[in-house]
């Protein structure tokens, strides 16, 4: 909720030619500029989105009809495993880090990220990590096929790929931890004078909290995959029952990371939506303070609900009850957020440009994912839902029309600021409508499949599941190929287009909109004045 006075940006122009970007490849390899690194993260994420998406289409193509048509079951399992790893660690998380890099310094009135060299490093680890991960597909025994959750003992049956997968995960983790440290250091130390914590835009708040989640849980993931590594190669028995270990302990440790990870992928999305809705409703965000508290509550609760991913492993009754109640509690702060967004729209003066369309679709479809989440929280009912397509439908609703739609909304919303050009609105709306129809045709029938008894992660299925699988596959190809409109639109906007104004959107408020479009290479070298 920052209300910035108009800052003087002229001081930047004097030195622009001195401090402009280097030319050629070294600009991108050696850059310490938050805008360049943000761009790198976003483009990397887009590439991974298409690679992960292609894997999803292999899965959906195989599931178009019963019988094995296209791929071997073992390759199918590699696809489900890598699709998840690529989408989570390669597409969604780097996209949000990219947004953070571009926006946080501009939003808090800082000249750059606090630790620019580390920033360069944390990005450039990623291409190596994913080259390593994807190269496992060509190794003897193929890529990892035990699911992205890496449950032992199954994951220990992975072939030569195993240590490479573990190393790739370590690299992604290191990158995330450095990114998180940088974000916290920037937000806590580089705010312009007068930018108190409770004046920060909500996107800054949600990223601050997300960064703490990352620092808390990424080392846990690193620890547990290292234990897998020593179990496989150094004769330890952390998770091997025959050696006195415990395969369920892996699940506890993994989900202690895994559940906060879910919120790492959704809290920044909440932040994006909280920036966009007020702009297009032309009305301040309703309940700013309660939004901050709700985000913090969700982050806290995320640490004490992990075992709802494992209701069927055979926990004692008291454990089941605790995790059921704690999980249900998450509905309260999440509900507060949704109510606040609706109240922000209430009695506003709305227009429906592409970012707003994606934001509204986010609120509705994320809430549907929230409803199925509430159903999944009910432990006795979860005994039916667990590991079925109902779960697949649930988490794709919160991750695709949830997290991914918020990233799309953010891209359309800030692209004019970043490039100085307006994107093609007609094409943006076409992309939106095809995506929103595609995503629902893709994932809604999966609720029915799960309830009717179709387990997840199977390459072939009984005949009664045929129709909905066909519908789902049609939706998948519609959704997948619609994203090419997005790619085309982004490329065209980078290359040229109508000149964007500084404020871009009539109702936009915040420091980043006081800068020119595109902003100069270095901004806020002198701190802006905050009212």
């Amino acid at each position: 909720m920052s209300t910035a006075s108009h800052t003087t940006t002229d001081h930047d122009h004097d030195h622009d030619h001195d401090h402009g970007p280097a030319r050629g490849l070294s600009r991108w390899l050696l850059t310490t500029n938050h805008k360049d690194i943000g761009t790198l993260y976003l483009l990397f994420s887009l590439l991974m989105f298409f690679i992960g998406g292609a894997m999803a289409l292999v899965i959906r193509a195989e599931l178009f009809q019963p019988g094995l048509q296209i791929v071997d079951p073992y390759f199918f399992n590699q696809m489900t495993t890598l699709h998840a790893l690529v989408m989570i660690f390669g597409a969604v998380m780097p996209a949000f880090v990219g947004l953070a890099n571009w926006l946080l310094p501009m939003m808090v009135g800082a000249p750059d990220m606090a630790l620019p060299r580390m920033n360069n490093w944390s990005f450039w680890i990623m291409p190596f990590a994913f080259t390593l991960l994807l190269s496992t597909l060509f190794m003897p025994g193929g890529g990892p096929a035990g699911g992205w959750t890496l449950y032992p003992p199954l994951v220990l049956q992975t072939g030569s790929a195993f240590p490479f997968v573990i190393l790739a995960i370590h690299m992604m983790g290191a990158s995330s931890i450095m990114g998180a440290i940088n974000i916290i250091a920037t937000i806590l130390n580089l705010r312009a004078p007068g930018m108190t914590l409770m004046k920060m835009p909500l996107f800054v708040w949600t990223w601050l909290i997300t960064a703490f989640l990352l620092i808390a849980v990424m080392p846990v993931l690193a620890g547990t995959v290292t234990m897998l590594l020593t179990d496989k190669f150094f004769g330890t028995s952390f998770f091997n029952a025959a050696g006195g270990g415990d395969p369920v302990m892996f699940q506890h440790i993994f989900w202690f990371f895994g559940h906060p990870e879910v919120y790492i992928m959704i809290l920044p999305a909440f932040g994006v939506i909280s920036q966009i809705i007020p702009t297009f409703a032309r009305k301040p965000l309703f309940g700013y303070a309660s939004m901050v508290y709700a985000t913090a509550s969700i982050a806290f609760l995320s640490f004490i609900v992990w075992a709802h991913h494992m209701f069927t492993v055979g926990m004692p009754l008291a454990g089941e009850l605790f995790f059921m109640y704690a999980t249900m509690l998450i509905a309260v702060p999440t509900g507060v957020k949704v109510f606040n967004w609706v109240s922000t729209m209430w009695r506003g003066a709305m227009t429906f440009e592409t970012p707003m369309l994606f934001a509204i679709a986010f609120v509705i479809l994320f809430t549907i994912g929230g409803f199925s989440g509430l159903m999944l929280a009910i432990a006795p009912a979860d005994f039916q839902y667990q590991d079925t397509y109902f779960v697949v439908a649930h988490f794709h609703y919160v991750l695709v029309p949830g997290a991914v739609f918020s990233i799309m909304a953010a891209a359309y919303y800030w692209l004019p600021k970043w490039t100085g050009h307006m994107y093609n609105e007609k094409l943006g709306k076409l992309h939106f409508w095809l995506s929103v129809i595609g995503v629902n045709v893709l994932f809604f029938p999966q609720h029915f499949l799960g309830l009717a008894g179709m387990p997840r992660r199977i390459p072939d299925y009984a005949l009664q599941f045929t129709e909905f699988n066909m519908v789902s596959t049609v939706g998948a190809f519609l959704f997948g190929f619609s994203q090419l409109f997005f790619l085309y639109n982004v490329i065209q906007t980078i290359r040229g287009g109508a000149k964007a104004t500084d404020q871009v959107w009539e109702g936009a408020e915040g420091l980043e909109w006081t800068l020119s479009s595109p902003p100069p290479y270095h901004t806020f070298t002198t701190a802006p004045e905050i009212k």
Binding site: A145, A281, G287, T312, G314, L317, T367, Q384, P455, A462
Partner: protein, 284 residues
């Protein structure tokens, strides 16, 4: 003007999606919902599922209703002038407390069902279920009867070289046979990786974990054949290790068990863990 055109297009899109859903839903034998099942517990679970579902529907209709009303009326193209209110402690407190109440209303029946599911006392029969890559083994602990249960769908059907049968991928050589009306205790475990034993009509699944023994129970109300699958990814043929439960009236079950006992004592010599020890089981 632009916005009303979008709304119009959106309306068409929504209509198309709904009519698609309708035409698909109208198709004869499609299952849309969880089965009610054949045990008291599965009925409880079904009703709990429907209760939460309808609560979510009502909340959804109210919240999305308000939102769409606002989207229609509070748009700039209709000349709306934005209000500037942005805070109300009262409503924030209200929409924290009311959902809490609703959640408590959900938690009470859920807790009751869960407690009943965990009460495996006084079972009259105990069966150990062991998951293997990729088949199940059933061990009637009190009677010394033990056999493997393996997918019986021919490879030709899976490879699309033969027409697929009615129970494609949900058929086995030797089903698990259970008595109707008796409380049966089921112990799940695994020999290699984690599996999960799931028959939707019984109302639950339970993971089968190497080194662990999990306890569950069921009491089937009516005779019949109930089909399920392994629900935890267990490797290449995870999709090919179905579960078939044949529920028989008590007397027929006893008869079957006696026959099995006789057969297994005469055949202990060829008790090879790889081959099913039960002869002549017909395919179900």
């Amino acid at each position: 003007m632009a916005t009303s055109r979008i709304a119009h297009r959106g309306g068409i899109a929504l209509g198309a999606a709904l009519s698609l859903a309708w035409s698909v839903g109208a198709h004869a034998d499609l299952t849309l919902n969880m089965p009610q099942g054949v045990t008291a517990i599965s009925h409880d679970v079904y009703h709990l599922h429907m209760l939460i579902f309808w609560i979510c529907v009502v909340i959804g209709v109210v919240v999305f209703g308000v939102m769409f009303w606002s989207i229609y009326h509070h748009r700039k193209s209709r000349g709306a002038v934005p209000a500037q209110f942005h805070e109300s402690t009262l409503v924030e407190v209200l929409w924290t407390i009311v959902p809490m109440m609703i959640l408590i209303g959900m938690a009470v029946p859920a807790t009751g069902t869960l407690v009943r599911m965990y009460d495996a006392r006084d079972a009259e029969l105990t069966i150990k279920v062991t998951g293997y890559q990729w088949r199940w083994q059933y061990d009637y602990l009190d009677d010394g009867v033990k056999f493997f249960s393996t997918l019986s769908t021919p490879q030709a059907q899976i490879r699309n070289l033969a027409p697929k049968g009615e129970h494609y991928l949900l058929e086995v050589d030797h089903p698990l046979v259970l008595p109707v009306g008796k409380k049966v205790r089921i112990l799940t475990t695994a020999a290699d990786v984690i599996h999960s034993w799931w028959v939707p009509e019984l109302g639950w699944k339970k993971d089968a974990i190497p080194g662990f023994i999990n306890e569950v129970w069921t009491q089937i109300e009516k005779p019949g054949i109930y089909r399920g699958q392994c629900a935890e990814l267990c490797g290449r043929d995870h999709g090919f290790m179905p579960i078939v439960v044949k529920a028989l009236p008590e007397a027929e079950f006893r008869q079957w068990l006696e026959q099995m006992k006789k057969d297994s004592t005469s055949q202990t010599a060829q008790n090879d863990s790889r081959a099913p020890i039960v002869p002549g089981g017909q395919t179900l």
